[in-house]
């Protein structure tokens, strides 16, 4: 179905239900739908329809959602752009997507003016807050009548550029069919009853942001948007709006816990906090379990853009500590896991020869689901690394336990090979992390004439606590096989990360290799 129906169907039934809060603005289904319908008609008048695209360069707002639903309603492809991308990456993404219309927030006007010579000539730029025309001019000009366009299940609904850590962004093509499968398969449609309040602070150019708006609006869960994450504002929003559900990336959770205004009382309304986007450091989730109210469940949601979001989940019951040491030991061990596959996902761990591996053995995590992307835009071979049996190479290394829980050990491309021995960075990181002075750590391989690669570690210390690089090495020497201990350790002020909190190991490698 057309994903614009995720708004238009509930809006036709419950027009007076409040569904969106964005800054001081609040919208019912009916108000939101009317703005979307008018915007869709204004876009159609500009030639937007099946086969064309509309891009957005902005932080989160009601305008962002209006653009998504209006684009879908017109049957076109939505291109959410990473506002933290480097200038050359931005020019690349816009140039490849060739949108007919680019919506932008005022703060990016100057950047776009600078990029002008490299942008498609027939692309119209429309401002969110100002300019002529602005998005408000389009909403005012468009007719409030009409229907959502008929689309094919295989039409691309969202062209989402992945936040690549090693190469130029890749445009993942996700179809109306993919989102329909995910949304109607995991939530029931709104029924007019309160379904809670979702706080969304991750960027909407990220798959978790995109699927969150679709599931919330379809299910009748009020959506509270933060333009960007800021820990103090997040805490205030939870208390002010009575937020019941939220999604955060690990770095956000840590900042929330560290913020001076955090208190258990302010978190009282929360029922469910899910996290994903990057591996969760164990000390952070451990701390969160103690600091948040016991009524708040935690969920680790692991997925990829290429698989239309979530593949596996570690649910609230897997996070619950009972106080019984024997039972808690199993829970604590499982907290290192990304959980079990969703009902529409199959997971296998395979070796390099494609053989399925038994529990406990490390290999590449392979997945099969109806939600695997159509391909990468502009890629000759389609891009998705699919086996003939339909399993996708995730490039993640890991293993299963006896109960089918999946454990990650790192990215395939991050595996360190020292003198023929494979070393998973995650194992070394966990060991260094267990040193009481260590706050954060990243482990990666450095080129070595003698060994091929050697293990290197960038370590961030806790504030006010001292440790030397030699002490870190010594800590590892007694806890790891000798070939796994780091040979180059540097204490650094912070780790380089992409906007989702993934550590940029390539930047670390370059910086360490450069002296």
């Amino acid at each position: 179905m057309n994903t614009a129906n995720f708004l238009s169907i509930p809006a036709s039934m419950f027009p007076d239900q409040e569904i969106l809060v964005s800054g001081p603005a609040r919208f019912t289904y009916g108000q939101m739908q009317e703005r979307v319908r008018r915007l869709a008609n204004a876009l159609r008048a500009r030639g937007v329809g099946r086969g064309s695209s509309v891009a957005v360069l902005a932080t989160n707002s009601n305008h962002y959602l209006e653009c998504y639903y209006a684009t879908a309603s017109a049957g076109a492809t939505f291109v959410p752009l990473n506002y933290r991308a480097k200038t050359n990456e931005l020019a690349y993404m816009i140039g490849r997507a060739e949108p007919r219309v680019l919506f932008f927030a005022e703060r990016y006007r100057e950047l776009l003016d600078r990029l002008s010579p490299e942008l498609p000539k027939d692309m119209e730029r429309i401002g969110f807050e100002a300019g002529s025309p602005s998005i408000e001019d389009l909403v005012a000009a468009g007719s409030p009548e009409g229907e959502d366009a008929e689309v094919e299940e295989g039409d691309t609904s969202v062209l989402m550029y992945t936040s690549g850590t090693t190469s130029l962004p890749k445009g993942v093509m996700l179809t109306f069919g993919h989102f329909t499968t995910y949304v109607v398969g995991t939530v029931e449609m709104a029924d007019g009853e309160p379904r809670g309040v979702q706080l969304l602070c991750v960027p909407l150019y990220h798959i978790a942001g995109a699927t969150n708006i679709m599931t919330s609006v379809w299910a009748g869960r009020k959506l509270v948007l933060l333009p960007q994450f800021e820990a103090g504002e997040w805490i205030d929003a939870v208390a002010r709006e009575g937020v019941t559900h939220a999604f955060v990336v690990p770095t956000m959770l840590k900042q929330i816990l560290d913020h001076p205004s955090f208190s258990r009382e302010k978190m009282a309304s929360l029922q469910n906090v899910s996290y994903g986007g990057a591996p969760m450091p164990f000390p952070v989730i451990r701390r969160a379990l103690e600091a948040f109210p016991a009524s708040c469940g935690f969920v680790n949601a692991f997925g990829q853009t290429e698989t239309t979001s979530t593949l596996t989940v570690l649910g609230p019951e897997d996070h619950r500590l009972s106080g019984d040491p024997a039972a808690d030991e199993a829970v604590l061990r499982r907290l290192h896991s990304i959980g079990r596959p969703l009902p529409d996902v199959e997971v296998e761990v395979r070796d390099d020869a494609g053989r399925s591996l038994p529990p406990g053995e490390v290999g590449e995590i392979m997945v099969r689901t109806a939600r695997i992307m159509k391909g990468y835009a502009g890629s000759v071979e389609g891009g998705a690394q699919l086996e003939p049996d339909g399993f996708l190479h995730t490039r993640d290394l890991g293993y299963l336990d006896e109960d089918g829980y999946v454990f990650l050990v790192g990215r395939k491309d991050d595996m360190i090979i020292r003198g023929g021995e494979n070393i998973a960075p995650a194992e070394v990181e966990a060991t260094i992390q267990s040193h009481p002075a260590v706050d954060e750590v990243a482990v990666f391989g450095l080129p070595s004439v003698e060994w091929g690669q050697v293990v290197a570690a960038a370590v961030v210390l806790r504030p006010g606590v001292g440790a030397t690089a030699d002490e870190i090495v010594e800590h590892c020497r007694t806890r790891l096989s000798s070939f796994k201990k780091p040979e180059v350790v540097r204490i650094v002020p912070e780790l380089p990360r992409n906007p989702l909190g993934k550590i940029l190991r390539k930047d670390l490698r370059d910086s360490f290799a450069g002296g």
């Binding site: 179905m1 169907i9 036709s12 039934m13 109607v184 398969g185 995991t186 939530v187 029931e188 449609m189 709104a190 029924d191 979702q198 699927t211 969150n212 599931t215 299910a219 559900h245 939220a246 999604f247 469910n272 906090v273 899910s274 469940g297 969920v299 949601a301 979530t310 989940v313 649910g315 609230p316 019951e317 969703l342 009902p343 529409d344």
Partner: protein
């Protein structure tokens, strides 16, 4: 069995799925048989 607002119904014959956006007393049929209720499998998460 009457149909229910917001629920999906699936045809066991051809696989067609239908979504009910206004409930009534009737039933939905496809391929000569009543379509079966298909429930979402909720994620234990924010969704």
């Amino acid at each position: 069995m009457s149909n229910t607002l917001g629920k999906r119904y699936v045809c066991e014959g051809c696989g067609t799925e239908a979504l009910c956006n206004k409930a009534g007393a009737g039933s939905i049929q496809c391929c000569g048989a009543e379509m079966k209720l298909k429930e979402a499998k909720p994620l234990p998460s924010s969704d």
